[in-house]
Amino acid sequence: MAGLAASFGSGAMTNSIGDLGMADVILVVGSNTTEAHPIIGIELKRAARLGKRIIVVDPRRIRLVDHADQWLQIEAGTNVALLNAMMRVILDEGLADESFIEKRTEGFDGLRTVLAEYAPEIVSEIIGVSAQEIRAAARAYASADAAAIVYCMGVTQHESGTAQVRSLANLAMLTGNMGRPGTGVNPLRGQNNVQGACDMACLPGNLPGYARVDDDADRARFEKAWGTKLSSKCGLTLTEAMDAAADGEVRAMYIMGENPVLSDPDQAHVIEALEKLDFLVVQDLFMTETAALADVVLPGAAFVEKDGTFTNTERRVQRVRAVVPSPGDARSDLRIITEISSVLGYPMSYADPSQVMAEIAEVTPSYGGITYERLDTGGLQWPCLTETHSGTPILHAESFTRGRGVFAPVEYVPPSDTVDGEYPFVLTTGRELWNFHTNTLTERSAGLADLNPVAHVEVNPIDAERLGVCDDDWIEVSSRQGAVSVQVRVSDRPKRGLLFMPFHFRAAPANRLTSTRRDPIAKIPGLKYNSVSVRPCEAPTTDG
C-alpha cells in the first residue's frame, strides 16, 4: 500500500474485478489467486478461456499455472530483478508508451539509469528463468492493448516489499497500462475488510480517508469533528508494537478480532511480548491462542450477527446484514467499543451502525456519498464523493491521485536472510484453499474442516528424495527463530530448494519459523522468504 501510494497517490486496487476480463494480458505476480481469492480466480480462468494471456510469476506451480500462457518460475524474492529486466526489454525494443511517460509521469530518467544494469542475460542468472522467457513476457505485456497486473502477498511480504510494488507500478506506467479498463496495478486484499480497516484509519499514521496524524490541517479537521485534542505523533505498527511490548514500553493492548500468536511472525517473540503486558484485552468469537493470554476476554459477534459494511479489494463498500442472533451474551463489537469508550470518558452514542456511516461520510471525503439507503441497491466504489456520485471503478483515469505518477529507481536487493550451509532451504508461507488465516473459523465449520485438517510442508520431489522422505513422513523445519515438526507432502509445486507451508495450523505454526525482518517503509514482515534447514524426524507424541 505504501508503495502504490508513493507511485500513484493512492494505495488501493486501481481497477475493478469485473474489468480484468477486458485485459488482453494479465500478469499475476505473487498471488495464488485460485486458492486465496477463488472468485477472482474464476475471472482469470474465464479470461484464459476466452483466449486472453495469463502470465504467472511465482516460484510455486500454483493451480492458475494450468490456465496460463506463460509461467515464470523465478527464485523466491527476485521479483524486482525480473521486473527490471522486463522493463529493460521494453525500452530496448521501443515498446514503452513515450507519450504516457511524458504527459502523465515524472522521474523516468532515474529509472532508465537503473535499468541499464538489468540485461535479461544477466538477470536470468539471478532469477533462474531464461532471457528468452523474460523477453517473451515483456513483449506480451507491453504489446497488449490493455494489460493488467494482479499481485498479492508474494510481492508485499518481503523485506523489499515496497520496492517490489513500486517496480510493478513502474512497469504499468512505462507501458501506459493505467487508467483504462483492463489495465492497472491491482493488489488483492486478503481479508474481507482489510481495505475498509485501512480506509477507517486503523493505521498508526493516518486519520480516516488517509489524512495524516502529523499534518496539522488534517488533525485540526478531526479535532473539530471529534471534539477533542489528538496526538500528532505517529503510532506504532503491529510488529513494532510487539517489539515495544517485549521491551516494556507498551504496557497494555486491546486486540479486537485478531490472533497475532498465529498470524504474526516469530511466534515466540509475540508470546513473550503479550505475556509481558500489564493488561491485555482480547475481543473475539473464540478462545484463540491470543485470547488465552488475556486478562479480559470479550465475546464479540460474527459477521452474520451484525449490521454494517465491508469494503472489498476493489474499494467497493457493501452492506453486511444480521442473519442470526448472537449466542448467549455475545455482543456486536460496535456496542462493546462504544460502551468502553463512554466509560473511558469519551462518550460515543450511535443508535445503530448507519449513524456511524453517516459520521464516516461526513469526515471521510472518499466515503462522502455513501449511505445505507444507497447500498441497499448495490455496493459503491470509493471515491464516492457526494450522494449523486456513482463511485469510481477505475482510479487515475485522467490524472493520478497525486497529479503525476512517479517512477522509482528500484534496485534489486537480495533478501538479507540468505540461505547458507546451515540453512540451505527457502521457506515460503501462504494460504490453502479450504482453510482461512489462523483456521479459527474454518476448523470449526463441519465438512469444510475435514478437507485439509493437518498441516503439510510441500517439498519438491528431488529434495524429498535427497532427504529420504515421502508423503506424510515427518520432518523438522528449523530456522534461526525456532523449529516445527510437520508432515511432508511431496509436490512438484515448489521449485527445488523451496518449501511451502501454510500458516493456518496451530499444531505446526509456520510463524514459529518466520522472522520479524521487515520492509523499512511498509513495515511488512518478509514472511515469504525464510532460510531454514530440514531433517527427518519422528512423529511428535503430542500436538504442537
Partner: protein
C-alpha cells in the same frame, strides 16, 4: 445481422413487439421481456447448451421447434412461446424425465426449489406414462460435503459444464452414452480423489436434488427457511452471499445470479464455511482473569475492568503505552469507532491491524 451492432433487434414474441439486445438468445429476449419459458439445462453462468428441449419455441420460417436458449435473435423474428403443440412437446419431455427419476419428493431437500417439480406442476404432469429401465446408480462417495444421487439426475449437464466452464476444474464429465450417460468423475473416483475444489458450484446449478449439500440434509424444508443477503466474511473479494436460516441457525449459503461481484458463484469457504457461527466453542460471556484463571463475568464487570486496566496504564506510563489492534474481519463502522476510541478516548495513535499479514 451484425452481432456487434449496438442497435436493438425488433422481434415479435407471442404477438407483442419486443426489442432485444443483438447477439443474445431468444431465451434472453423472453426473460428480459418477462415472458416465461421453462428450462432445466439453462444457467446464465454457462454457455448455451440446448439439452433439455423444454424451452422449445416456434419461429416463423424456421423448421421444427428450435430451443430458445441456443437460438440467436435476428431482426424481424416472429416467435411463439406457448401453444398446444409446444405444451405437448414439453409434456413429453417431462414425462420422459419422470420415467427415470427417483420420486423422493417427500424427503428430498430440494423439494420446493426443484425445477423439475416446477415444470411438472406447470404442465400438469403427475406421473409418467412411460415404463422401462430405471437408473440405480447412487455414487458412493465419502466426502464430507457433496452428496450425489444419480437416481435423480436428469442429464442436463449443468454440473459438468459449470465445473469446466466456470471453475476450470473438469472434475465431472459425461461418462457413457445413451441411457447409461451419467455425469461422473474419471473412473468414478471420489470427489476428493478427482481433484474437486469443493466450491459446491455443481450443487448450486443442479436443477433437481441429484447433487445436494450433505450438511443441509434434513435441516429444513425450503419453504420454512428465511433468507438474508449479506457480504461474505472470508477473503477480500466481497462476494454477495445469501444465507438460508431457520430458528436462528444458518442452514446453507447461496449467491444471487444477477448481482454482486460473484454473480452466483461462491468458493468452498463462502459456501460451506459458516458452521463456526453456531459452534459450541463460541464465547458467550465475558471472562475476567481472577487468580490466574479466566472466569465468567458480567458485561458491567468486564467493561469496568477494561476501563480500569487502560486508565491505570495511561496514568502510570501515558497513553502511548497503550496499543489497540483493530480487525480486518470487523465492519467499517466498528473499525472507525475503534480507532476513534483509541485516538480520542485513550489519546494515542498506536492503532493498527493485520493488513500486513
Amino acid at each position: 445481422m451484425n452481432d456487434t451492432n449496438p442497435i436493438a433487434v425488433q422481434l415479435t414474441i407471442d404477438g407483442e413487439p419486443i426489442q432485444a439486445a443483438p447477439g443474445g438468445t431468444v431465451l434472453d429476449a423472453c426473460r428480459a421481456a418477462g415472458i416465461h419459458v421453462p428450462t432445466l439445462c439453462h444457467d446464465p453462468r454457462l454457455e448455451p447448451y440446448g439439452a433439455c428441449r423444454l424451452c422449445v419455441v416456434e419461429v416463423e420460417g424456421m423448421r421444427g421447434y428450435p430451443a430458445a436458449c441456443t437460438t440467436r435473435v435476428a431482426d424481424g423474428m416472429v416467435i411463439t412461446t406457448e401453444n398446444e403443440v409446444l405444451r405437448g412437446l414439453r409434456r413429453t419431455v417431462v414425462e420422459l424425465l419422470l420415467s427415470d427419476h427417483k420420486l423422493d419428493c417427500l424427503t428430498c431437500d430440494n423439494a420446493g426449489a426443484c425445477a423439475l417439480q416446477d415444470v411438472a406442476y406447470e404442465l400438469g404432469v403427475s406421473e409418467s406414462p412411460f415404463e422401462g429401465e430405471r437408473h440405480r446408480a447412487a455414487a458412493l462417495d465419502e466426502n464430507p460435503l457433496i452428496d450425489r444421487d444419480y437416481d435423480k439426475c436428469i442429464s442436463c449437464g449443468r454440473c459438468v459444464r459449470i465445473c469446466e466452464e466456470v471453475q476450470g476444474c473438469s472434475v465431472y464429465s459425461s461418462t457413457f452414452r445413451g441411457f447409461d450417460m451419467l455425469p461422473d468423475t474419471p473412473f468414478s473416483a471420489s470427489l476428493l480423489d478427482a481433484g474437486c475444489e469443493f466450491c459446491g458450484q455443481c450443487v448450486s446449478t443442479c436443477p433437481v436434488g441429484a447433487l445436494s449439500n450433505r450438511g443441509q440434509r434434513f435441516t429444513g424444508r425450503v419453504w420454512e427457511l428465511q433468507s438474508t443477503e449479506t457480504t461474505c466474511g472470508y477473503c477480500g473479494v466481497g462476494c454477495t452471499v445469501t444465507f438460508a436460516h431457520k430458528d436462528g441457525v444458518i442452514t446453507g449459503a447461496s449467491a444471487p445470479l444477477d448481482r454482486g461481484v460473484n454473480r452466483g458463484n461462491l468458493c468452498a469457504k463462502g459456501r460451506y464455511g459458516h458452521g463456526f457461527v453456531a459452534h459450541p466453542d463460541r464465547l458467550t460471556t465475558p471472562l475476567l482473569r481472577r487468580d490466574g484463571k479466566l472466569e465468567p463475568a458480567s458485561w458491567d464487570e468486564a467493561i469496568a475492568a477494561v476501563a480500569e486496566g487502560i486508565r491505570g496504564v495511561v496514568e502510570e506510563k501515558g497513553p502511548d503505552a497503550i496499543v489497540g489492534l483493530a480487525s480486518a474481519k470487523c465492519t467499517n463502522e466498528e473499525n472507525y469507532a475503534f480507532q476513534k476510541m483509541i485516538r480520542a478516548g485513550v489519546g494515542t495513535n498506536n492503532v493498527d491491524h493485520c493488513a500486513r499479514l
